[in-house]
Amino acid sequence: IIGDEYLWPTTVPYYFGDDLDINAKGVILKAFEQYRLKTCIDYKPWSGEKNYISVFKGSGCFSSVGNRRVGKQQLSIGAGCDRIATIEHEFLHALGFWHEQSRADRDDYVTIMWDRIEAGREHNFNKYDDTTSSSLNVPYDYGSMMHYSKNSFRNGTEPTIVTKIPSFSDVIGQRMEFSDSDLLKLSRRYNCTRTTTFLDTCDFELENICGMIQGQGDQADWERVSEAIGGPDMDYSNMGRCTGTGYFMHFSTINGMEGDSALLESRLLYPNRNYQCLQFFYYHSGNVNDKLEIWVREYNEANPDGKLRMIEVVNGLPEPLWQLHHLSLAISTKFRVVFKGTKGAGTSTGGISLDDVNLSETTCPEHVWRIKNFKSIMENTPMDTIIYSPRFRSKYGYTFQMGLYPNGTSTSPGELGAFAYLVSGDNATDDNLTWPCPWMQITMMLMDQHADIRKRMSNQRSITTDPNQKLQDSTMFTWDNPRKVGMEVEDADGTKYFRGPGYGTSVYLTQARALTRDFIKGGDAIFLLTMEDIAHLVSSQPVPTTVEPTTPSNLCTSVKCENNGVCVMDNDKIAVCRCAVGNDWWYYGDRCQYKSSNNDAMVTAVVSSVVVFAVMLVVTVVSVVCLRKKYKKKMNKTGGVTTTNMYA
């Protein structure tokens, strides 16, 4: 929407209404984290600012467009709206974005099929001219999360939006994550120069290896290669898709002595949050005794040259595949991440490789469920057939599991269905837990395996265990001990355990979308699973004791007066520009954008006088001529005699 008055400050105050579902609160916080990771927009609890976004549970999902400067601006996250993409969509409205297909140039890219729209819903397909809405010089984006889907508001079975390029017909309407263009537009609108929580990414495609350096005091080096003896024979970022590209870092352990090590250090990084997540893919083709260790080099006054601290030894047997690894860090000073490879005892035919490193100030996912040959599983699993992840034990002690319908259900064919279950774990542990399980949010994320974390459009859904919720037509609690409310099941290896009721969705993601982007890489899909305690969201958000008064200057912050004009408040209600004036010149217009001068005025006066004089002259002459003709005619009709002076 055009107009700086619609902008929010880059840190947006929010208030969670008490009526919001606890799961919704948790998902909104996750959406905020995506904004922080990928844009310069941050959110903070309302602390008395005049304008803030009040999130409440209305009957649906809706928002206004832009900052309306009304104080409490409402944004509804009702039942069924507690999905991260829906929340990001509504907040994009609040930040000043219309729907993508209402752009001024939309008719160049899509055709609206007016006769297929449900009667009375035609107003949903408005478009705005380029004086109301700006595309911010970003091309039309079929992949925007602000675009309708092809079947929105249809009256029958035919699509209401037909893309001019047919291959985009199933692309429009994605509700996974921000597209690259969504992020570009947001960055341009808010003049972003950096994001809030992103620190570093590297796919090693460029020779500068993202500013990483070979450490000192080691006996070997990491090499940037596109294939390595003993494997891998291709990198992870490109997976052999682009000839001439596809590099990764490799530490060979074929030669050298036992104990030889190589350090690869990141550039200097400056943390803000005191917690970080390091994520990378590694390939171990060396000896079982070869080691990959993660260290950090921290800088402070006492250690101006940095002090090394070991964080973790990456345990993992040699395996012919790129493995995903996460590592939580807690660093509060300037630092570097150090990858240390060490040759162990015994002979090696390969080494250790690294690719697609990402470091952000976010929390790490806890559990990884990797499904090999996922496309084949989608195609060959019968409909209504579920596959289960291994059981994962969360840090809180609860054991849970994900179930996936790879080929959909009869109610939602062509869609992946995803459900979460509490399952029994170790007897002694389960007995010491609180039942029904209180306010644990389980998130199931299908990872978009793009090398850069900022460009990933992962698909995720969360459900939360409400300890008061009862099973339908039962007095038993849904999230009670699975030994009590669940069913005994048996794993393929013969292990028996109890599985409680499942909560999730049969429309997690369409199979067609699962085949796009990097959801499947090297044939494999990766689900990232987490369980988080969100009990702290049950209590009300504190209301600030003082609310910022209406200050006249507030409105002026959104009005830009050009040419040295000054913004003043008119009756303390409207911000208006007072324009600069000189001896014989002055600016005018609502933003002082036009200039005029005495010379201009004199020229205008002279020109207008001449024009007026000329017009009057013409009128006079015409009148005289007409009158003469009229009287001449009259005289002739009445038979009058015209006398003439014959001597003249």
């Binding site: 009957s59 649906g60 999902c61 809706f62 928002s63 309306r68 009304v70 039942a79 279950y421 030994r483």
Partner: protein, 44 residues
């Protein structure tokens, strides 16, 4: 056994998009999910 069948609850009821959620809720908002600013007499 405590139960013979595992119950699964579909939290979406098959609704894929926020616009379907709004339609099911009986909402007829401007462009499906945009609030109308009556005070200013124009669409927000």
């Amino acid at each position: 056994l405590p139960t013979s069948k595992i119950t699964e609850y579909d939290v979406d009821g098959g609704k894929e998009d926020l616009f379907e959620v709004n339609q099911a809720a009986g909402l007829d908002l401007f462009e499906g999910d945009i609030l109308f600013d009556e005070k200013e007499g124009r669409n927000s």
